[in-house]
Each structure stands twice: as structure tokens, then as C-alpha cells.
């Protein structure tokens, strides 16, 4: 802050911020407005736009595939989020103890996070392959029936959810670990004085104190879940029978396979709206004040 009372404008500030203004106008502002306009039109890029009023909106409400993609995404989230939180929490807790080579462990868990989703997907596609995949081969060896991981409608999305958890949990372990380490030791000491058991300490101190981290993990996972694209695109093409058709994959298909630009824009807004609602609900339900 400059000296109080002096109103001085650093003109150079405008110069510095100018690139962003230009950038924003071209790559954010324009697309947003254009997207909004597209919602009310039918367009396939090569022909002129045709005004369509609320047509796209109406179609969306009656589009079984849209609701299916939402349902698929929700199934994904219901499995992925709790699984991720539990695993990350447990491992972060263990790592929070005095562990030798903590850095090594942490780095190993984190490895899948940095590797491209394409690599992970190709790898797990091999694991999940029905006839010759690693998982089923192991299962046959111990005389359990092969599981139709990716070719059965009930198993496909859960399989993808498990893979996504494996990929991302490292990040959340790191976040939880940071959150755990920020909890002042003195609180635990005070609890010890009161004779609290380990269990009580965990549920009444650790978890509440981790609330901000928890919320962040929740929101990040939710955003990630709604952005699910490359996994179903590579692994299943949205099948079997559209059980792994995610919201973004559906938007992609509508826009780039069928050239329904107006409808794709409508889908995008609808999904964005839903994400916003979900995040608001999550915060209302789970966010608590942390008194530190």
C-alpha cells in the first residue's frame, strides 16, 4: 500500500494488465457471449445459423441421452468421491505418523497424478480386458469367474471410477497430509489430558479440523467428475450401451461428430448450471466453520 492519503495512479498498471484485458475479451468474453447466443440457434458451422428459440432447450429436457449422461456421471461421483476420501484420509493419516522414507511413499502415490490420463487409460484397459486382461487372468488362476469389467453395463462405469480414484488419490493424499500437518499439536495434547481415545480424537478433532481440506477435495473431485472425458473416450467409446457416456463426451459427440453446435452449447450451459448447484449443495451440507 502506498502512503495513506495520497491518491496516486500507477499508470503503468494499465499497461501491464492490458494483455489480460485483450485476452479476456477474445478468449473468454467473446466465447461466453457467443455460446449464449448459440443456445438459441441451430448451427453446423458451414451453413448460416438458424434461429431456433427455445428449441434446443426443449429438446434437452426430453433427450434421454442427456439424462443418461448425467446419471452416469452421478454414478461415477458416488463411487469415486467417498472411495477417494477414505483411501486418501487413511493413507495420509498413516503418513502423518513418524514414518521413515515418508518422501518416497508420498512420491509413489503421487506418480499416477502427473502421468497423462491417456497412459493410465490404456494401461487399465489392458487390466480390464475380458479375455486376456491382467485382472481376469489373476481371477482365473484362483478359480474365480471372470468379471466383465468394461463390457457389462453395471460394471463399466464403476470400473472407470476405480481407475480414476487410483489416478487421483495421490493428489488428495498430499492435500490431506498438508491439512493434517496444519492442525496444531496442542489440541491433541489437550484432548489427551482429557483422556480422549484415539478414535475420539480422530472423529472429534481431526475430521472437523480437516473440514476446509475436505471441502476442497470434495469440490475438486466433483469438478473432475463432471469433466470426465478421455477415459470413456479411449476405453469404451461411451459404451456399452451408453453406460459410460459422460456429460463432456456427450457434448463432444454432439458438437464434433454430428455438428449440432447450438445443441452442444445448450448442453454445456446445462451441465455448468448443474455443477454450480451441486457445489452449492455440497458446501451447504458439509462446510463448517473451523475455529483454529
Amino acid at each position: 500500500m502506498e502512503k495513506l492519503g495520497r491518491y496516486e495512479t500507477d499508470r503503468v498498471g494499465y499497461v501491464m494488465v492490458l494483455p489480460y484485458i485483450i485476452f479476456f475479451l477474445i478468449f473468454v468474453g467473446y466465447p461466453l457471449i457467443f455460446s449464449f447466443i448459440l443456445v438459441f440457434h441451430k448451427w453446423n458451422i458451414i451453413s448460416p445459423m438458424k434461429f431456433a428459440g427455445l428449441y434446443n432447450f426443449n429438446f434437452l429436457l426430453h433427450d434421454p441421452l442427456f439424462w443418461k449422461s448425467l446419471r452416469n456421471t452421478l454414478i461415477f461421483l458416488i463411487i469415486h468421491i467417498p472411495l477417494q476420501i477414505i483411501v486418501a484420509l487413511v493413507i495420509a493419516n498413516i503418513l502423518n505418523q513418524k514414518i521413515i522414507a515418508r518422501g518416497f511413499f508420498r512420491a509413489s502415490f503421487f506418480l499416477p497424478v502427473v502421468i497423462s490420463g491417456v497412459v493410465i487409460t490404456i494401461l487399465w484397459q489392458q487390466f480390464y480386458s475380458f479375455e486376456t486382461g491382467l485382472f481376469n487372468t489373476i481371477l482365473s488362476r484362483i478359480n474365480i469367474a471372470k468379471i466383465p469389467w468394461l463390457i457389462n453395463t453395471k460394471f463399466a462405469m464403476p470400473s472407470i471410477a476405480i481407475m480414476a480414484t487410483w489416478k487421483n488419490v495421490g493428489l488428495y493424499i498430499v492435500l490431506f497430509l498438508a491439512g493434517l500437518q496444519a492442525i496444531p499439536f496442542s489440541i491433541y495434547e489437550a484432548a489427551d489430558v482429557d483422556g480422549a481415545t484415539a478414535r475420539q480424537k480422530f472423529f472429534y478433532i481431526t475430521i472437523p479440523m480437516l473440514n476446509p481440506t475436505m471441502i476442497m477435495v470434495l469440490i475438486l473431485s466433483t469438478l473432475g467428475g463432471f469433466s470426465l472425458f478421455i477415459e470413456p473416450y479411449v476405453m469404451t467409446g461411451g459404451g456399452p450401451i451408453n453406460s459410460t457416456l459422460s456429460c463432456v463426451l456427450y457434448i463432444y459427440k454432439q458438437a464434433f461428430y454430428f455438428n449440432h453446435m447450438g445443441y452442444a452449447a445448450t448442453l454445456a450451459f446445462a451441465v455448468a448450471f448443474i455443477i454450480m448447484i451441486v457445489v452449492i449443495i455440497q458446501r451447504k451440507l458439509f462446510e463448517t466453520e473451523v475455529y483454529a
Partner: protein
Amino acid sequence: MLRLIKWFTIPLTGILLLTMNIPLQAGEDVVKLIYWPSSNPQEIALAVNIVDEWNKTHPNIRVDMQPLPASQSSEEVLLTAVAARTTPDICSNIWPGIVGEFAEANALVALDRFKDFQDVTLSRMSSDILTNFISRDGHYYQMPWKGNPIMMEYNVRLFREAGITNPPRTYSEFMEDAKKLTKDTDGDGSVDQWIGVINVNPVWWHRFFDFYAMYIAASGGRTLFKNGEVDFDNEYAVDVFRFLQEGFKKGYFPRGTLQGSQFLLENIAVQFVGPWDIAYLEKYKHEGFEYDFAPLPVPDGTPEPILTYSDPKNIVIFSTTKHPEEAWEFLKFLISKESDLKLLIITSQIPFRKDLDIDSTYKEFFEENPKVLKFARQISYTRGSDNVTQLKEVFDVIAQAFEYSVIYGMQEPRESVMNAAETCRRILRR
């Protein structure tokens, strides 16, 4: 002679490509045309040959060939070019499915505006074939060029050893043969030889090579639409669905995706492919491998001739051209007798020509390549795809119904087909 052409063309390509980059010294009255062939190496070699021939004999109209960049889908490249108005004068890699959209966007020149259109086309192909490609407004925006008719490729040895003398003609014959040919050959308890394979990926264009081709065969030449209306909710589509569904139910077709070329490995007895496979098999086949082609199987009682899907690629002239008349001249050159012969020799694909098996120009070629002759005879008995803008979506719907009913057996064929037709009607009404 023919062999010489084939052998020297591809190496010459490199040299010709180099020489073609030397700018012409001629002045303003030379018309320049840009031509896009496909990105597949044989077609590029063909294009180089034809373009060079043309440039030699037509010094006033110079054609520059630019291969479509190798990419995931040439349709999108073309779409972007149309949107940005950077289209070439002529393109010979047009899938009829996109002609509808392009025509509606006024991106194409109507070919029937040229006075000699009727003469040129009907002297080359039957009117039956030509009308395959008419657009909704009654004009022709594409010139049928070549096709790869889908036929049934079968392993002669496997059939012989199973005691079958002729490849199956009908669905019942197919099922009988399937019983004999699907088995566990190495005794490990799981089946490893099947009669055939159907691609189980729910990608819409796979269905061209199984469902759609067989539908055309079964129905004696119907396509999915008639006069722009959905027309496939009929017995024939149901028959095809039922036939293939049975194949999966009884385990005659493998469920998962297999690796490698199963036909070459002799793990499957039958494949549904076009003439492109001949070049592949000739290159990789091992000692004792015998194969041949037959028309697609059809429901019992279907009369001859048996039709099939032509998997066509056509030529268009884009409306951005500044020289439509000259472009038309070049187009005619592309479909001349001599160019068609080169097409056969260099790419083994079949031009849409009705007199291939009797015209002396082609006699020598077919004597040396009898298997291609079968396809050449078949080309006059084919259908293309409908000129409907939403064709991709329609096929996507069919592919999904196919997955549901045929591959997973979760729905009765009749119900599946009817639902798919209804959904397609809804799509068209949008």
C-alpha cells in the same frame, strides 16, 4: 505391361512429386486448379500418375495436387475448409454422407449443370447406380467414382476340411456351417476358432460393413431412406438383426475384441470386407493359405442378384472454384477408361463402371487378378448410402440398437429395429 505400370508408379511418385514443384513459366492464361485426393498412399500414387498425364496433355489447365493431410477423419478437414472457404477446386475423397450437408451449405457445384453430364455418366455406369447419389433437391452434386463392394471373404481350406464344398448362400446355410466351423481346436476348453467376426465396437461406421451391407443384400437393394423418409423398419432389417444376434447368442462370433489379423491366423473362417483386403492378404499370407470371395449371405429365398454396399468415394467440385468448366474437364479425365484402369492396377479398388468385365481395356488386368474380377462384377449391383444430412446420427442410433440387441442380446430384433426407426424419425424432424 500392367505389371510395369504397377511396379514403377509408386517409386516414380517421389520423383514426380519433386518435379511437380517446379513453377510453370507460362503466363496469365494458364488456368490453375487445386485437386485433393485422399491421404492413402496408393491413392496418392494414382493421383500423381493421373495429374502428371493431364498436365502433359493440357498445358493450359494446370492441376496441382495436394494430398489431404493424414488425420483422424478427412470429413472434418473438409468441413473446416468449407467453413473457412479454403476448399480446393476438386476433391476425389468424398464420402457421400457429407454431400448432403455440403450441398445445403452451397459449398458444391451442381454437376448436372454441365451439358454433357448425362452422356458422360450413363456411358460409364448404369442409371441404377447413378440415382444412388442424387441429392434432395434433385440435382447431382457428386460424381460416383469408385467403390469397395463388401463381399464375404472365406478361408477355402477351413471350409474344405469341415466338409463343406460351397460357401454359405443363405442364413440357414451359414448357421449350419457355423456349427461345424466354430470349435475349440487346441483342447484348452475355450473356443478359439469361429466362423466369423463382427466388430463389437459401438462405432457408427462399423455398421456399414455388417448390418448395412447385409440389409442391402437382404432387401434386394433398399437403403435406409426412401424419398427422405425413414424406410428401414421392415422385415429385412429385422432378419439381418436376428441373423447376427443368433450368431452371437450361439457363440459363433467372438464377444471380445481380438488382437491381430484373425483371418490370416486362420482363427476365423469368414470376413466381410472389400477388395482392399486382397492386397493385404497377398502380402502377408503364408504357405497353404487359400481364400476366395462370395456374395453376402442372405435370408433364405432371396432372389438373385445379390446386392451389397459399395462403400463409395466420389468426386466433387467445390463452389469456391473460379474455373468450373475446366474443373469439369479434369473430372471427366479422372473417370476416363484409362484412368479407371490405373485405379484398378494401382489401388485394387473398383471404379463405378458397368462394362468392366467385357471391355477389352481391362481384360489383361482381370486375367492376372481373377479375385478382383468378382468385385468388378459386383459393383454394378451395389447401393451407396442415402443423401441425408443426419446420416451419421442415424447410423449412431442403429449402431446403438445393434449393440443392444445383436451383440448383447438384450432386446428382440423387431423391437430394436422399430425403436431405432422411430428415433431416427425424431432426429430427422429436428
